[in-house]
């Protein structure tokens, strides 16, 4: 087999191909249209990244406003309605515009083909169109934001959503379009991973990030259409008064909850699974040791994806669901906890006897481990029926899913962003700054959400614009924490942005990763690989040594000479 493409040999390959002046995907063509009409998965991923980070900024600002409002029990700067619109938009923006596309669409689009050793995703046009669908959906949401204001909560529960004023139809159309954007991304990845694998890339040589993405895509394809029809029926409910969810016409509001959660619970795994994939990569690369129990992690991803479809009822334990259904759903809910537990232990033992380097991505990965454990464990209180009667729809739930969604997905996303930033942009960032940001985010996060568990079990209901005096102190802790958290995120943003201007040029392999993306230049050439990459065990670090001249890891000279790695 031909030699692995190392930075050196890429350079030589370059000169041999004079007809492509600059292979770097960022600069090989110029001008607005070359981006707006690009079919290159890397550029699309980058555009997604910009898009979702913008909406994250928006959602984050809304969150800070919410926390500020809750600093004192009574009405402060917002009326009740204002508050209701704020939390609705915070939820909707974060869920539909940020978390769901965050890892798959931004990092996934960039990484999947490169990690796989393919030239592009299977359907580049579909990929671009899914980005534009995302933009369109976002536009609908902004309409909802700047017109009279949406106040249904991101869950659109009927009959409230059919009775309330406000741009519910616009918002549901937004969700519908975003749904298709998400479906197309998932469809693209499944096909890509199935049919575009180069020779030697067998299922069990795929990096775990690909396994996670694959499982995620399955959920996206299977669950999202149901959301589509649900919001469509909701829109019809308002426009045509079809009354399927409206008790006034013998419709049943609980049916809406079934429809909605059949998507939205699996959606939780759309959010967390890719994050788990990132953590698997980060843990292994930065411990410079192969992942512990590769197959267990791979299979648990698929297991989570499939079990994820059987548990939607646990969002409805108090909503008058039949007893037998409730009990079955509770039982199924616990089955999901097991694969997650397995993953956590495997990540832990990946560090065992490794060589742990506490660079920024690793700091975030460790933070993830800490926070996700809390998030997962508190799920037990909500999965068990008797305690859930008390905790349902209180701040305990709010804290729980923020620990999973934010402490899990967001932290992993940031870790992944710091990890692959050099590869995407070609610049190194300030290490110390990154580590500080991780620390501040970690502290701020716990300060924000730990008090909310206590509030919840003491009976503080969620979605309250005003609250009883006895919760004031805890709310104030939470608010302070939120602003610390916000500061941490701004530090992170600053570190990354400043690297654009004064970061040193990134080597091909700054961390010593061995998955294929580290075998092409940073940033990668337009076609990713100038010749078919040689695929081997993605977690075999034995042949990599740190080279001070390159400032990153390279093949051991003798290996490079001998060529083959079998």
């Amino acid at each position: 087999m031909s030699a692995v493409v190392t930075p050196g040999s890429v350079q030589t390959a370059e000169h041999s191909q004079s007809h492509r002046p600059d292979p770097n995907y960022l600069t090989h063509t110029k001008g607005f249209l070359s981006w707006a009409l690009t079919l290159d998965h890397k550029r699309i991923g980058l555009m997604y990244l910009v898009g979702i980070l913008t909406s994250f900024l928006l959602g984050g600002i809304l969150a800070l406003l919410l926390r500020a409002e809750l600093f004192f029990p009574g009405e402060q700067m917002f009326s009740n309605d204002g508050y209701n619109q704020l939390f609705t938009l915070h939820g909707a923006v974060m869920v539909f515009l940020f978390i769901i596309p965050s890892v798959p669409a931004a990092l996934g689009n960039f990484l999947v083909p490169v990690m796989l050793g393919a030239k592009d995703v299977a359907f580049p046009r579909l990929n671009l169109s899914s980005f534009y669908l995302w933009l369109a959906g976002t536009a609908f949401f902004l309409v909802a934001l700047f017109s009279t204001g949406l106040d249904t909560g991101w869950t659109f529960y009927t009959p409230y959503s059919t009775l309330t004023q406000g741009p519910v139809v616009a918002a549901t159309m937004g969700v519908f379009i975003l749904g298709f954007s998400s479906i197309f991304t998932g469809l693209n990845f499944i096909v890509t991973i199935n049919t575009m694998r180069p020779p030697g890339m067998t299922w069990f040589r795929m990096p775990l990030f690909l396994w996670a993405t694959y499982s995620t895509s399955i959920i996206q394809v299977l669950a999202t259409p149901v959301l589509g029809i649900t919001v469509l029926l909701l829109a019809a409910e308002r426009v045509l008064k079809i009354g399927i969810f409206d008790p006034a016409y013998n419709g049943d509001p609980v049916a809406f909850q079934h429809f909605f959660w059949f998507y939205s619970h699996p959606a939780v795994y759309i959010m967390i699974l890719p994050a788990m994939g990132i953590i698997s990569e980060l843990m292994s690369v930065h411990s410079h040791k192969a992942i512990f129990g590769y197959r267990m992690i791979a299979f648990s991803s698929v297991a989570i994806a499939l079990f994820g479809f059987l548990v939607w009822g646990h969002h409805m334990f108090t909503s008058g669901m039949a007893e037998v259904t409730t009990i079955i759903f509770s039982a199924l809910t616990f089955t999901v906890s097991i694969p997650s537990a397995i993953k956590v232990f495997n990540w832990l033992f990946t560090m065992y006897q490794g060589t742990v380097s506490l660079v920024t991505p690793m700091c975030y990965a460790l933070a993830f481990l800490f926070l996700f454990t809390i998030g997962g464990l508190t799920g037990l209180f909500l999965g068990s029926l008797s305690t859930d009667r008390h905790l349902h729809d209180t701040y305990f739930v709010v804290a729980h899913f923020h620990y999973v969604m934010m402490g899990g997905t967001l932290i992993a996303f940031l870790g992944g962003l710091f990890h692959w930033w050099p590869k995407m942009i070609g610049k190194m960032y300030n290490e110390l700054g990154g580590q500080i940001s991780a620390l501040v985010v970690f502290i701020g996060f716990n300060l924000t959400f730990l008090p909310q568990f206590v509030m919840g079990s003491r009976g503080m209901p969620r979605r309250y614009a005003q609250y009883d005096k006895e919760f004031e102190f805890l709310h104030q802790m939470s608010t302070v924490g939120a602003f610390v958290l916000g500061m941490g995120l701004f530090i992170a943003a600053g570190v990354l942005l400043s690297s654009l201007f004064r970061g040193r040029k990134a080597p091909a392999n700054p961390w010593g990763g061995d998955t294929l993306e580290w075998h092409c230049e940073s940033p990668p050439p337009f076609y990713n690989f100038l010749r078919p990459p040689v695929v081997k065990d993605p977690y075999d670090y034995s042949r990599l040594v740190y080279d001070n001249r390159v400032g990153g890891y390279v093949e051991r000279p003798e290996d490079r000479a001998s060529g083959s790695h079998k």
Partner: protein, 320 residues
């Protein structure tokens, strides 16, 4: 500004408000059981994490070994043990749940009506109240209806909560074991005043409760108040609004003394006589816009005494 009834009642323990129902002790015990399980796992994981990070940190002269890629014994252990624990939690949870789901045969039934955004509780003797009054040590069953959107009745001190879905009867039961007054929240988002859709749960000894009930079911002296009281209890409220809005029949607001066109074409002014007649034999006179629906009102002859009718009249008069 803070609504007057948002009183502060301090939590009894770090995690929970006081235990005021038979469910509370079970729920709290179980909560703490799970809590300790979680703490054990959490400490193990975090301790392991910190230890590994420190022990295997990258440092000059240290070379990690790439072995230890998996260990079946270990992996099976950390699959099986969590599974067993999960099963226990599930089973235990179901017991508690079935308890909350199955009220005893002998219960004191209170009808709850949730509307945007207030609670109304109706007792077997027809008494109405906006705070929930219950006798101590007696199983109480709430039969709950909502007329607009989904609400959810939550009494933290009782550790119980049930959504109130419009179009359905929603049942919830509990047995109070502690006198005093406790918060009652709406926990299903229901719009503008969701966060102030609160009431008090007043647990009283049987005697106090009976006394309160007798008082609450007694009609007021003042005729107008009395009329309102009847209006709420005799079902007028179901069809006739007092705020001008159209429910089924005409609204009472500002109707007194106005002249109306009848279905047979003649004009009539609404006076005491007209009101009395519409109450006793409504079908004999229908306004032109309501002729179609007149069948829906049935006669109150024999159901209302004369002085009650005049009280209602006084009430309608008072609605300018």
């Amino acid at each position: 500004m803070i609504q007057p009834w948002l009183l502060a009642d301090e939590p009894a323990s770090f995690w929970f408000p006081e235990q005021a129902s038979t469910f509370a002790s079970e729920v709290d015990w179980f909560f703490h059981a799970i809590l300790w399980i979680c703490i054990v796992f959490f400490v193990l994981i975090v301790a392991g994490m910190v230890y590994f990070v420190w022990k295997f940190r990258q440092r000059p002269g240290y070379q990690g070994s790439p072995e230890a890629l998996h260990n079946n014994a270990l992996e099976i252990t950390w699959t099986v043990i969590p599974t067993l624990i999960a099963v226990w939690i599930f089973v235990r949870g179901v017991y508690g749940y079935l308890d909350m789901m199955s009220p005893p045969t002998e219960t004191y039934d209170i009808e709850v009506k949730a509307t945007q955004w207030n609670w109304s509780f109706k007792y077997p003797n027809g008494a109405l109240s906006n705070d929930l009054h219950v006798p101590i040590n007696k199983p109480v069953k709430l039969i709950m209806r909502s007329e607009d959107v989904i609400h959810s009745l939550f009494i933290p001190a009782f550790r119980c909560k049930t959504d109130i879905v419009p179009g359905r009867l929603n049942i919830m039961w509990f047995q109070a074991i502690k006198e005093g007054s406790f918060d009652l929240y709406c926990t299903e988002y229901c719009g503008t005043k969701h966060s102030v859709m609160q009431a008090l749960t007043v647990v009283q000894s049987q005697e106090q409760f009976d006394a309160w009930l007798a008082e609450a079911s007694k009609p007021p002296e003042d005729p107008i108040e009395w009329g309102k009281w009847l209006y709420e209890r005799q079902g007028c409220k179901g069809c006739h609004s007092i705020d001008g809005s159209l429910v089924v029949g005409p609204s009472f607001k500002g109707s007194f003394g106005t002249s109306m066109e009848m279905s047979n074409g003649e004009k009539v002014t609404m006076d005491e006589q007209y009101i009395r007649n519409s109450i006793l034999n409504p079908q004999t006179q229908a306004r032109v816009n309501f002729a179609a629906k007149i069948n829906q009102m049935n006669s109150y002859a024999g159901k209302l005494k004369e002085e009650e009718i005049s009280a209602l009249t006084a009430f309608i008069k008072s609605l300018k």
